[in-house]
């Protein structure tokens, strides 16, 4: 015999309350006989049994609200002995037939917020002060959208003011700006309320008013051009030089481990790690990342690391690894490979040629241990990298052998001084000691 359960009496009925039992234990009932009165929120309805038999135990009290499908009473076949006690074998045998609620769409699990690289890397900047927060709120500026240009990336009042007057940009214009390497902050919008449209971006891409035009008519591989540039550099730029030795042990072992899982084509070389470290350091110390123009320092809109590459016929180009501070190390490696390849086959873009905000010259492959290069005007810094050598080195008071590299900085003394330069190299060193964060 099966239990007498709370029936479904309609599409919108989930539960009901017994108002009154019409039978008692031991009553003989025929199929169709009313068993109880149930209140379903719409009305009181008699519910019937679909089996003939004898009423066993009443399991639900009047006044109790139960789900559809809940056993209300046990039923016995004629002649079957009723259970001795309410909590009986019969009851234990039959698990309560709970009505399975209609399948609901499982709430899509909210993916955990992936911490953005920028946020992780910029964990350092101090929080904006309350007066500044107030100022931002008054101007309707969302501080989360503002990049700070103060020390350690602190948001300044000027940053907030600039953000308040940021023009709107159409989706297409924004995409175009990205593709053409145009800094939207420098674009004047001609749409309604100064909205930046596609044609404004195109105009800016051709004009590039902020950065003084660098001669790009002929490729820089021309010796005469290089001669003129280098002469000018030495004539105009008061160079200072600082250098340091960096213990590359941690980087080299980390690369060995990480390269184990990479295909040959994907292996990361130490040079890439060095470039990455330079880029991150340049972001932290923007006074070395930009241009000396008409007597003032103009910070670069982003970190574009010029990479000195020797090309055919003994010539040299130093195209930019653009947005190097935003490229994860594997990505930067690919970009570097690609850049070198295209430099050697003469397929660099205008942006790559025009954009470097500081330059790195790595002559380690040529065997020299140290290089003090000539700054490429209008930049204000040049980093030199020598050969990776194994040398005796003191580690925790003991003598060991470590892979070392000499890093140098040629700095424009108009823009910075030795103190800054030294800090810059120290920053690079520090970054290289934590390669997993590169």
């Amino acid at each position: 015999m099966s239990d007498f359960t709370m029936p479904s009496l309609g599409a919108d009925m989930d539960s009901g309350t017994i108002v009154e039992w019409l039978v008692k234990p031991g009553d003989h009932v025929q199929r169709g006989a009313p068993m109880a009165v149930v209140d379903t929120d719409k009305a009181a309805v008699e519910i019937e049994t679909f089996q003939s038999g004898v009423v066993g135990d009443l399991l639900v009290e009047p006044g109790q609200r139960v789900d559809v499908g809940t056993p209300l009473a046990t039923m016995l076949a004629a002649g079957e002995a009723p259970s001795a006690a309410p909590v009986s074998v019969g009851k234990a045998k039959r698990p309560r037939a709970r009505r399975v609620p209609p399948p609901r769409e499982a709430a899509a699990p909210v993916p955990p917020a992936v911490p953005r690289e920028a946020e992780v890397a910029a964990a350092a900047p101090p929080a904006p002060s309350p007066p500044l927060r107030h100022h931002a709120a008054e101007l309707g500026v969302d501080l989360a959208s503002v990049t700070g240009t103060g020390t350690h990336g602190r948001i300044t009042r000027r940053d907030v003011d600039a953000a308040a007057h940021r023009p709107r940009v159409s989706p297409y214009a924004r995409r175009l700006a990205e593709e053409l390497g145009v800094d939207l902050a420098a674009v004047t919008g001609t749409g309604t309320s100064g909205t930046v449209r596609a044609e404004d971006v195109r105009a800016a891409a051709h004009a590039r008013p902020e950065v003084p035009p660098v001669s790009t008519e002929a490729p820089r591989s021309d010796r005469a051009t290089i001669a003129a540039l280098m002469s000018r550099s030495k004539r105009e730029i008061p160079h200072y030089y600082v250098a340091t030795t960096v213990d590359m042990h941690t980087v080299v072992s980390w690369l060995r481990d990480t390269n184990r899982d990479r295909s040959v084509a994907e292996r990361i070389v130490p040079a890439a790690a060095l470039l990455r470290a330079v880029a991150l350091a340049a972001r932290r110390m923007p006074q070395l990342n930009g241009f000396w123009v008409d007597g003032v320092f103009v910070p670069g809109e982003d970190v574009h690391v010029g990479v000195a590459i020797s090309v055919r016929r003994g010539a040299l180009v130093a195209p930019a690894l653009r947005h190097a501070a935003d490229l994860e190390l594997p990505v930067l490696m690919q970009a570097l490979r690609d850049l070198v390849g295209r430099a050697r086959s003469g397929r660099l873009t205008r942006a790559e040629l025009a954009d470097p905000t500081l330059t790195v010259t790595d002559l380690g492959d040529q065997g020299v241990e140290e290089v003090f290069g000539v700054i490429q005007p209008p930049q204000v810094a040049l980093v030199g990298i020598g050969r990776l050598v194994e040398r005796p080195w003191a580690v925790d008071g003991l003598l060991g052998v470590r892979p070392l590299v000499r890093l140098s900085l040629s700095g424009d003394h108009r823009a910075t001084d030795g103190y800054t330069g030294a800090r810059f190299l120290a920053t690079i060193d520090d970054l290289l000691q934590h390669p997993e964060a590169l």
Binding site: T5, P7, S8, L9, G10, A11, D12, M13, T40, K42, A43, A44, V45, F50, V68, G69, R99
Partner: protein
């Protein structure tokens, strides 16, 4: 056009009806009765969902009318159409599976209780809109007429639908164009919870139908033989080209309008009174009175019908659901898509 009444005598006494045929009518009504009762149980156990309208008490209408129709005739019915579907020949398995929402159901589980379709049997639903199927039935009859066929379209609807404009427009149009349409009004005295005297200014529905210019009868819908006899008269006229006919089949549903209905609008005494005219009991009583009921055969037949229901339930339980990936299938027909003519699609005569 005159209106004839077949008086509800309470006896089935058409001696002309062969015993075997009467037994067959009884068998069909029994199948319907047992199927519907089982559906009530299954609904209470949440196996069947949505709305469920059973035709317990009205079995004689579906059985009596459909026994007269042939495979070339068409049927359009309402949401209380399980009996019609079963008598028409849809397999009980496919109907039960449809109630369970399984892909093996006659409508792939898409329709449920109210939307049973089987084009192969010319059973065009199942319609949840009161009166919604009537104009479609007019169209099917129109197509038959235009192709000079002698098929009949039987359209079932209730006394509630009789108030809908769609019925009146259709009755007028069918009579005007002399279409081969049999209007079968199952007057069970209630439009859901509203008694007919609160729905219709004039409750003699057959009388009113005659005013559209078609032959119209009022029939004792609890007497399957009377229903069959009236249907034969009507169908004969329709096939002869006389235009549509109207049958008011006076019947009663013993259970509520649908599964959830506390029946506050009618009293139990009335239900009890009509239960005394249970169509199955009327027929068995008449057959016994005529000495024509083989009790063993009757018992066996009932057991077999019960077994058929059990098998249908088991089969439905095992059957699969339609894959969710098929959700958007059949929004449009699958055979062809939009576009210019294909060779195979040219009409006859092009």
């Amino acid at each position: 056009m005159s209106r004839r009444r077949t008086s509800a005598t309470g006896t089935t006494g058409t001696g002309a009806m062969p015993t075997q045929h009467r037994f067959e009518l009884l068998r069909q009504m029994t199948r319907i009765r047992l199927f519907e009762e089982r559906c009530v149980e299954l609904y209470s156990a949440t196996k069947i969902r949505g709305f469920l309208h059973v035709g317990i008490g009205e079995e004689a209408v579906a059985t009596g009318v459909l026994t007269v129709l042939t495979a070339e005739d068409s049927i359009v019915s309402t949401y209380r159409e399980h009996g019609h579907a079963l008598v028409r020949g849809l397999s009980m398995d496919s109907v039960m599976a449809e109630m369970f929402g399984k892909v093996t159901g006659c409508s792939r589980g898409r329709g449920g209780s109210m939307h049973l379709f089987d084009v192969g049997h010319r059973f065009y639903g199942g319609n949840a809109i009161v009166g919604g199927g009537i104009p479609m039935a007019v169209g099917i009859a129109l197509a038959d007429r235009m192709r000079h066929q002698t098929s009949v379209t039987a359209c079932f609807f209730g006394d509630g639908a009789y108030a809908e404009g769609e019925f009146h427009e259709s009755a007028n149009l069918a009579a005007l164009w002399r279409l081969p349409l049999l209007f079968c009004c199952e007057n069970n005295l209630y439009a859901m919870g509203t008694a007919i005297e609160h729905e219709q200014a004039e409750t003699d529905l057959a009388l009113r139908a005659a005013s559209y210019g078609m032959a119209s009868w009022s029939v004792d819908g609890m007497d399957v033989a009377a229903v069959e006899e009236a249907t034969r008269h009507a169908v004969e006229r329709i096939r002869a080209g006389d235009g549509p006919c109207f049958l008011e089949l006076r019947t009663y549903r013993f259970r509520a309008h649908s599964m959830y209905d506390p029946e506050l609008y009618r009293d139990k005494a009335e239900v009890g009174h009509w239960r005394e005219r249970d169509p199955l009991e009327l027929l068995t009583a008449a057959m016994r009175a005529d000495g024509e009921l083989d009790e063993d055969a009757f018992e066996a037949m009932t057991a077999e019908a019960r077994a058929e229901v059990d098998r249908a339930v088991d089969t439905a339980e095992q059957a699969p659901f339609e894959p969710v990936e098929d959700l958007t299938r059949f929004v449009y027909s699958e055979a062809v898509g939009p576009g210019p003519t294909r060779a195979g699609e040219e009409g006859a005569g092009s």
